[in-house]
Symmetry: D3
Subunit: 312 residues, 6 copies
Amino acid sequence: MTEPRLVYKSGEFVPESEATVSIFDTALMYGDMVFEMTRSYNQAPYRLRDHLERLYAGIKILEIDCGLTIDEMEAATLDTIDINRDRMPEGIDYQIMHNVSGGPMALYSSVFPKGIKPTITINVWPLTWHIAPYGPKYESGIHCVVTAQQSVPARLIDPKIKNRSRIYYQMANILARKVDPDAYALLTDEDGYITEGTGNNFYIVKDGTIFTPEGRNILRGVTRAAVLDLSAELGIPCVEKNIEMYDVHTADEAFISSTSMFILPVTKFNDLPVGDGAVGPTVKRLISAFSGTVGVDIVAQAHEYAALANAD
Amino acid sequence: MTEPRLVYKSGEFVPESEATVSIFDTALMYGDMVFEMTRSYNQAPYRLRDHLERLYAGIKILEIDCGLTIDEMEAATLDTIDINRDRMPEGIDYQIMHNVSGGPMALYSSVFPKGIKPTITINVWPLTWHIAPYGPKYESGIHCVVTAQQSVPARLIDPKIKNRSRIYYQMANILARKVDPDAYALLTDEDGYITEGTGNNFYIVKDGTIFTPEGRNILRGVTRAAVLDLSAELGIPCVEKNIEMYDVHTADEAFISSTSMFILPVTKFNDLPVGDGAVGPTVKRLISAFSGTVGVDIVAQAHEYAALANAD
Amino acid sequence: MTEPRLVYKSGEFVPESEATVSIFDTALMYGDMVFEMTRSYNQAPYRLRDHLERLYAGIKILEIDCGLTIDEMEAATLDTIDINRDRMPEGIDYQIMHNVSGGPMALYSSVFPKGIKPTITINVWPLTWHIAPYGPKYESGIHCVVTAQQSVPARLIDPKIKNRSRIYYQMANILARKVDPDAYALLTDEDGYITEGTGNNFYIVKDGTIFTPEGRNILRGVTRAAVLDLSAELGIPCVEKNIEMYDVHTADEAFISSTSMFILPVTKFNDLPVGDGAVGPTVKRLISAFSGTVGVDIVAQAHEYAALANAD
Amino acid sequence: MTEPRLVYKSGEFVPESEATVSIFDTALMYGDMVFEMTRSYNQAPYRLRDHLERLYAGIKILEIDCGLTIDEMEAATLDTIDINRDRMPEGIDYQIMHNVSGGPMALYSSVFPKGIKPTITINVWPLTWHIAPYGPKYESGIHCVVTAQQSVPARLIDPKIKNRSRIYYQMANILARKVDPDAYALLTDEDGYITEGTGNNFYIVKDGTIFTPEGRNILRGVTRAAVLDLSAELGIPCVEKNIEMYDVHTADEAFISSTSMFILPVTKFNDLPVGDGAVGPTVKRLISAFSGTVGVDIVAQAHEYAALANAD
Amino acid sequence: MTEPRLVYKSGEFVPESEATVSIFDTALMYGDMVFEMTRSYNQAPYRLRDHLERLYAGIKILEIDCGLTIDEMEAATLDTIDINRDRMPEGIDYQIMHNVSGGPMALYSSVFPKGIKPTITINVWPLTWHIAPYGPKYESGIHCVVTAQQSVPARLIDPKIKNRSRIYYQMANILARKVDPDAYALLTDEDGYITEGTGNNFYIVKDGTIFTPEGRNILRGVTRAAVLDLSAELGIPCVEKNIEMYDVHTADEAFISSTSMFILPVTKFNDLPVGDGAVGPTVKRLISAFSGTVGVDIVAQAHEYAALANAD
Amino acid sequence: MTEPRLVYKSGEFVPESEATVSIFDTALMYGDMVFEMTRSYNQAPYRLRDHLERLYAGIKILEIDCGLTIDEMEAATLDTIDINRDRMPEGIDYQIMHNVSGGPMALYSSVFPKGIKPTITINVWPLTWHIAPYGPKYESGIHCVVTAQQSVPARLIDPKIKNRSRIYYQMANILARKVDPDAYALLTDEDGYITEGTGNNFYIVKDGTIFTPEGRNILRGVTRAAVLDLSAELGIPCVEKNIEMYDVHTADEAFISSTSMFILPVTKFNDLPVGDGAVGPTVKRLISAFSGTVGVDIVAQAHEYAALANAD
């Protein structure tokens, strides 16, 4: 049996159960923690540096001095992967989470006689259970639902900073599940444009062109950048443009993207079929091409992990 | 020497250092933790039930089933106070913090082999250091600054739910301190109305009437309710009404209120004097009357705690 | 067997099957028809003049010259009731509908060789089937659901003019029924305030006071005026004020009002109980008092009509 | 003398006088009827399939099941044209109107003892009178006026669905005519961008490039698509872009487009000349080229129809 | 013949022709001059101190240090009146204008070898020509027109500061006169509420109560305060409340107020009659009562001044 | 010693001290004066015609008939330069200012017994002092600060008309200087997009591409057009696109442009470094290339003028 995983915490490695944040931490008080989720393909982290650059853009704007340069953060990340390599099942891909906040607030310093320092955690865990449910969804597609909960516009809370003040994601999830317990919430902004899912980016395909919302009221996903790159390689036009609900209703295909599952087809939107209601050729082509790029058949992997998870 | 304080955590009492939240907790993932800050006067919690009712309104809307009725939560709070009574300096008032979230997200359940349950913490700590800095401010007043960071409107994230998705508070603090390191940030909404400070409510006095923003894009503070009640008792008209910056610039007095300091006079607004720039008679009258009500001279207490803190 | 009902149509009485509007009518081309729904109690129309005054305010603003003074319209209404009195079942209350538009558009005059005149229809029909379903709802209450479909603000289309451009009502109905097939859609405005249902006004009760949205982005219902009058008679404070979703979630009671059913209790809001989830005392008191005022036990009537409808 | 025209109505052909809609139809109750206007050139319908596709996009979103597939609707349209061919003057072009709604509302089913079905009408009529007034306007240009009545944004009522809830068109017409009885109303959105006329699309020409508002708060006209196609053929750049009033004031040319008149030059805007106040070369070139494409000199036709109308 | 009038200019009295502002003055560069218009009744300035207090609120917020205290400004005003008393026709009321700006901008100091100081002007002139045209309007009422030009919201430019950046007033005037050359422009805000005229406040009367817009997106007129005071004295309820166009269309009476003419009845609104289209009893009562208060029959004065102006 | 400069004023040349505007001028009353600032390079006016075309667009929209054609205005400008050539130091570049307004308001005509005519001024002055401070800034860069004062959206006051109603520029300056006395205010619009500085346009550089805000809520600067032209010549992509604060925080370089200084690097934004905090290569390349184009080393000139100014 493998030893328990270890977590990098502000300079030390601690057991996973200690991968926690004080209730006096500004991360909770103000929700101003910045984080990243990176996954591996064939046990190699995918676009780690891009994730870290986004992390450092966020902490610059929030004026959090975490004490590590980006190179040091990258090194600490690789150390965390290394130290846990034997603590995770062999040959299984994993997720990496980074968390950075200013640490406990000075106001509460009397509670911390040993002093206060910024909070940094880096931890990894196998993707087995996480990815297992996606298998059938690559084939059936998912159902996206727009609710009364809108995105907070970037001028008020900038979603381009991957931060923790996302209670509106949760409210959107709650409301979407009232329409369909399996639905994925999709957000719109004050102009009625589609923004993003609660943890993923959104795309439609119309007459052979992919459209995805402008990088404004959304997290500019690393996987979104990968989709843009991949489309360019495949010669599929991919345009960043405001998308309205009408455009989804009249699209040929739709899909979402995120770190863990790459992309999932969207075959139902607000209870109506997208296109003919089946997974379309563009989505299939992207999944197939990306599987080639990363050297992992991502649909097969999801099915394989589902089998492992069930066997567990 | 007193023993270390204990924290109520989902049914148990644990050392304060364990008063933490998992990095997989929805409280961090979505910032959807609900919390309360209550303080004591003469070691008796002030309007505890009002705080708990607001807490339960929040978890109802966020559909968090914390497993405790409000009566059970109140009992657990009193237990937490009791168990810590000898662990805090005698005769010193204390703060009580409640935190409630749905606990770690089901998505990450593989990380929690022992299972997942909602997160509840109740903890107390002496107000000595917290209140110490207020002493001189009751006499000088504070400086409130409006920045480019606006309030998030209630239709997007409702501040009437005391929640943790408040990164915009932090941004407002950062920007206000660029104008004056001692400034208190004051927020406005998309209509330009004053809403609240980043953790306090705001008031002006004009021609003998107190005005405070409508209970919309603000936390409806328990101390705000106390100010409304106290004004009624004193026969000072107190009106809930939209306030613009112009109204502050032409007001006779201004002040803020919050749980820990009751009220603080605001004598400077965007670098210009409020009224004649001195603490006004209405603020003095409210402080004096409230001291009588709670049986604690709140200004004297702040000075006394400052002396204790310095002696520490 | 009774003879078929007759409809007043621009000066004549025609069979009900001819109570139609040309597809070239501006009522369809622009949706700019103004209408009214009035009901009888004990076969006497209730507040007919108030309905007609609202109708005439609408056609004034839309600059429709219908050719009848308000007094002539009232007389034509009473004639329509008289002529149909023996054509409706005895002792059954009825609904009256008025429709006024500018008639077919001049652009299409070649299609109307006999000339064009404004469209006016007045028709009546028994309320039996219409009211029958309400019986159990007076006891169980209804479920109101807020969807992504917002009200159109009054500055763009004024709902105070009871007009036919209400496609957004229909979209809200469609979306609400996805959450619960029996749900009643409730609309909000761009500020997140509750406005109205799709054909009814909304109210909450908190600490003994009734609150209903300001008369802005709503139809100012004739029944709403009746509720305000009745509350005043009963000594129940009733305040016109912006209401947010938070206020409904923390209310003691809620209800809607409309011409046909007077008021119905709202016991569920966005899938959460309103107050304790049961019909509250204020709603019961209003229903009982109104039944006295109009001389009709409105709950009993709904049950009686349900029996008649089933027997049909 | 020709026989009276027939109208397709939910499966049957009825006289034109019966081409009506019940006052209980949802088309009137909610203004949620979807419609299309198609015209012929040389007695052949122009881009009929594009019109029907837009019609079916609309009824999909409004969840109206009209009972006909799009192919069946096309066949019924051709049948309607055929059956009326001898009922219209020879050699004259005609307009086709489609209307689809859900039919009378279930609530009022007691009024319809024979049952309820969706409303579908297809009718045709000669364009003689309709087009007659355009003759001189191709030469003088028209006057467009922006009023206080703005477009309803697409997030509230989507104008891309050609629907009947357009009372704001009528209000804009009323207000524009107060400035100039011959003025055409032009709408703007909440951002101040030009959207569309009340039944037409808008364009400016600046330095040899045509600009037309993005396909958002407008009906995406079939003729607009024809203008985009034609410009591409002629090598005139045509850009979909937000247009402000300033841009119209500083444009070289402006014009509107719609099904019946193709395009009309706009030579006056808010009482000020557009460019030098005369019809410009781009407009002339488009009219000439389109006349070639459809095989009809559209300006000559308008003059010819005017002569016929006068002779009538 | 009287000597030419003198103008107080930054400490000196100069001929009226020198009552000018440099083109390098911030008053022109930024439009940030603050001003006041006060009139006399029986040659005594009316509520001068109220005007000056508003002036000083404005310059405080704009951080203009004009070098005079408010008392000194009042004295300078009275001096200006005195010095001009014999320079104006006897027994004629006059207008007083105050202008204050920061003076020429430091950037352009090289153009001012003698140095730069704040700009202050105080000047007076007889009201003869100014008031003459009002005579018939007290009897006929005026026509108010709402155009596409909206008020700038107070959060962007605060109209409560009587400042010179009012180009939108001019645009509204231009547009209103296109509807009716004699029309008075009336502004609305982004919510569609009536705000003010371009230099006057607006009121409606409904069922015996006067309503005037809240003191937000308007200049809080000194005459407006006089109307509120006078109504209170007369026992006429006067409520500050958001007013929509619908409210004007359904009002019994309407009127505007400003310094020079006190109030003028509004008998036409957007080309439709207000109430019955005649001057109503409330307006008449206010004019009569105010004439008593100030000791001047204001309608007679306007007629008298018209006679003088014509005789001139 | 040189003779004093002369100013063109509505047809005459007057001494500079008379280059003033009456306090009754609509330029002050409504802030509706249109103006231009043009500078010379090597004593030749730069893009004068472009400035005049923008001036004439403005007066067209404001319906000011100034009495001069654009050709006459150009001639008057050249005359003004000529007449002042010997009145300015030799070899020094100069600024030209045009001002046009409708002149004193008709309402105040009694104050102007000689009659009223439009106000036109054209004046020139050497740039020595004006440009002197820029020298070190070309090397250090400037600090741009976003404040609570937003731009007025173009739909309310169009900044594309270079007009005098810019009090919000002044408020932004006041607020920015509270953060840093040397800061340049930068404005944002209601969507949070960067618009412009208070008298300059803004740009960022990211991955070799220049981005500048769309020509909407900004003055479309003549120098901005020059930057677009120059970039095209140099093969640097330059895109007009909405820019958010996040984009500035993550940019490689930033700069502003205006008539007098061409461009200045922005090295600090809201107190955080832009890129690495130093002047970047794109800015340097633009300055160098533009110096070549206009035949003036603009950085050297600023240093030279500083020396002259100090020697003065």
